[in-house]
């Protein structure tokens, strides 16, 4: 179970997908939208993905973790708007023991952060929006 979804993430479904009576360790991770009060308060983040390549990369990362750590892996990333406090990415991993489960879970989240072509558009409490895509702000002057 890997890929993109426009629906709220369902960690329980990911956990069910990786459960295995031979696997004693099940580690999961939720990446949630931070309000970042101290910096510039956020109300939501909008995710835009290059869908085809994201699906391929999430599947590849999961397969690598499976072969490398002997783990079952489920990993879903949100597209569309996600409110503060809500998860934008969910990873669930099971393995015979906890060391492999933790290592595999960490591997998946670290790799997808780099390899999944997904961009964030910040929606700030002050009404401004901003794409986080490495380009300077000139592009924001154009009406959304």
């Amino acid at each position: 179970m890997t890929g993109l979804t426009a629906d709220p993430l369902d960690l329980a479904a990911l956990i069910a997908a990786v459960s295995d009576p031979e696997n004693g360790g099940l580690t999961s991770f939720l990446g949630c939208i931070r309000r970042e009060d101290a910096i510039r308060p956020v109300i939501a983040i909008e995710y835009e993905a290059y869908e085809e390549l994201t699906e391929t990369e999430l599947a590849a990362v999961a397969a690598e973790a499976t072969s490398r750590f002997g783990a079952h892996v489920a990993c879903m990333h949100r597209s569309g708007r996600v409110e503060v406090g809500e998860p934008s990415v969910a990873v669930a991993v099971s393995a015979p023991h906890r060391s492999a489960a933790f290592a595999a879970c960490r591997y998946v989240i670290d790799e997808l952060k780099v390899r999944a072509p997904i961009w964030k558009r910040m929606h700030y409490a002050d009404g401004a929006t901003e794409w986080i895509d490495g380009r300077d702000r000139v592009a924001d002057r154009r009406p959304a």
Binding site: E48, H77, K113, I118, W119, W131
Partner: protein, 84 residues
């Protein structure tokens, strides 16, 4: 000039908004390297140099700037990501 070929460019995030479209067709010389494609974007969209960490995908697979383009190819400008 080598006979022109037509390639599709996938645009995301602020590029898509600048262009008002997620795809564009560009006509470029045959075998133009992927890394040269940015300069063919209209200035109103590219707004100058590409970001340092720009990556490319060719027909939905990661590619390197030197890859030569063929007619009908689809290139994605993968701007620095910030997912997760």
């Amino acid at each position: 000039m080598a006979s022109p070929i037509s390639v599709t460019v996938r645009l995301f995030a602020s590029l898509r908004e600048a262009a008002g479209a997620s795809r564009m067709t560009l006509s470029v010389p045959h075998a133009t390297p992927v890394g040269a494609l940015w300069s063919h974007l209209p200035e109103g969209i590219s707004a100058g140099e590409p970001p340092a960490a720009l990556r490319y995908a060719l027909n939905h697979e990661w590619t390197l700037p030197g890859a030569p383009l063929r007619d009908g190819d689809e290139v994605a400008f993968v701007l620095p990501v910030s997912g997760g």
